[in-house]
Symmetry: C2
Subunit: 311 residues, 2 copies
């Protein structure tokens, strides 16, 4: 067996883990449903078991490191999940220290959207750049910023909360206390809520609204216009702020790209001199829901190596 | 003489240059009025003369490097000012190569707001941090981002255009093509325009509007409320994006801090979970209009040394 790392992506729905070599080849993997009802002990057990099995299968001697991506605000220095909508049972608990104790190995913790951005840089749509921003359009809107081949973490590990960029100062209220957050206008949840506002139906999924729009429903089409414009306002601000070569979108809402991308790109062109006059790219991510897993596995390589350590 | 660097800050009004040692002590300095009517040749002559005089006075052998801050979008790799409202005569001309040829020395070019941010990190309000954002509130609103002790430049050198963050999607039109840019609601120019809209007077300076507000004029007070709220919307987005420990404000509008800061901070608290729950600071810069000069002089040290090279 060659040298390898183990990545684990803990989502609200699924837990995925994989052993990968430096070239991103998957040597072995584990997957299971996340069961928040199992409580903290159940969740910890699942995570530790998946990693321990992979280590056993691939050989403890060749293991270069372990990376874990988890949702929520993370205090990186302390290794604590401060706030997580999906995994409340793991909040305010020294999760990194506990996993390290049980595995007797060092663990690198990272926010899941940050890990996904790193995954796209390592093995996805961002392979050819060192700097990119990823927006994940799912239940909420997450963000990850890669600068110089590394995750931009901020001083506490809370950077990249791009779902809470204000796009409409008087817009929809958000649980974070703000109004008009990007995720209140461009997430799957926002699409469901707008469909309800327009009396298209209660509890429609983003996919169902998309199908209505494809079938000619004008109200449904207008929802994706709103999604595109909100993304355009946010992306213009990100382009003007970072001047990175690449901005990626991923997540379930990406399936509606052909409906929201034209108004989104028109809005960015209008709002960013820098976008209009350079070859800055806004594109679809390519790793889908595996991005966070790849990024988690990449964390040990980035920490060990040069800025572009995984290459 | 100890080892020293030369910094030059080319503004629309003044040209300043100084020789400084590694500790930021000014060994010698030159200053002159910028005269755009002198055309490109006149401007280049002034810049080269100031640097050559300092080099002669402090000794060519001890010169560690030369840094120059200039306003406008800069293509860093090419050393070209792409677009500058104040210095049109220097646009689209290989300014760095020409200065290097005349001085027979290497020159580091940087955007003036980026240089100011670096100056504040080196010798100003940001001495104790490695990561900060600076907003300069002057004729326009400029921005500089310091990440890991270095200027975040973006892939073309156009990062930090924070005056063009969209704060009100349907707000005032901006020359950049956008609407509701921060600088259309929080610059000295915006204050003058709002005073005109409210029939307080034509061509009032930000200072005059400030004096009116202090004298009890309610319309003038409302202008600084708008300034504060617009800054708050932008800063909340920056805090959520970067999670840096420090955000600084500088420029002429800073004199009205006591009027715009309370609504600004209230808005950031409301709009940023991260700001409310951490010790993130939003403060006044301390170097005033010398920040760009210090930052320019710091550029050679940062390039030569470790990330925090100037320390």
């Amino acid at each position: 067996m060659p040298e390898y790392s183990i990545g684990l992506d803990l989502g609200g729905t699924n837990l995925r883990a994989a052993a990968m070599d430096r070239a991103g080849h998957v040597l072995d993997r584990r997957a299971t449903a996340t069961n928040p009802d199992a409580g903290r002990e159940g969740m910890l057990g699942c995570m530790v078991n998946a990693i321990a099995e992979l280590r056993h299968s691939c050989g403890a001697a060749q293991l270069a490191g372990i990376g874990i991506g988890v949702p929520g605000f993370i205090l990186l220095k302390e290794g604590i999940i401060r706030n997580s909508n999906n995994l409340a049972c793991l909040e305010d608990f020294p999760i990194r220290a506990e996993i390290e104790r049980r595995l007797n190995a060092r663990v690198i913790l990272e926010n899941d959207a940050n890990a996904a951005a790193l995954g796209e840089k390592w093995m996805g749509a961002g392979r050819d750049v060192d700097d990119l921003v990823l927006l994940t359009l799912g239940t909420g809107v997450g963000g990850g910023i890669i600068s110089g081949g590394r995750v931009l973490q901020g001083y506490l590990g809370m950077a990249g909360e791009l779902g809470h960029i204000t796009v409409y100062p008087d817009g929809n209220p958000c649980g974070c206390g703000n109004r008009g957050c990007l995720e209140k206008h461009a997430s799957a949840t926002a699409i469901t809520a707008m469909a309800s506002m327009l009396r298209l139906g209660e509890g429609l999924s983003a996919r169902e609204v998309y199908d209505l729009a494809l079938g000619g429903n004008e109200k449904a089409s207008r929802i994706f216009l709103v999604v595109g414009e909100a993304l355009g306002v946010a992306l213009a601000t990100l382009v003007n702020t970072f001047n990175f070569p690449l901005y990626l979108l991923s997540g379930g809402v990406l399936a509606a790209w052909d409906l929201f991308a034209p108004p989104m790109l028109a809005e960015v062109r209008r709002r960013s001199f820098s976008f209009r006059t350079t070859a800055t790219r806004i594109e679809r991510a390519t790793l889908g829901n595996e991005a966070g897993l790849f990024g988690a596995a990449c964390l040990p390589w980035v920490e060990a190596g040069p800025a572009n350590g995984a290459a």
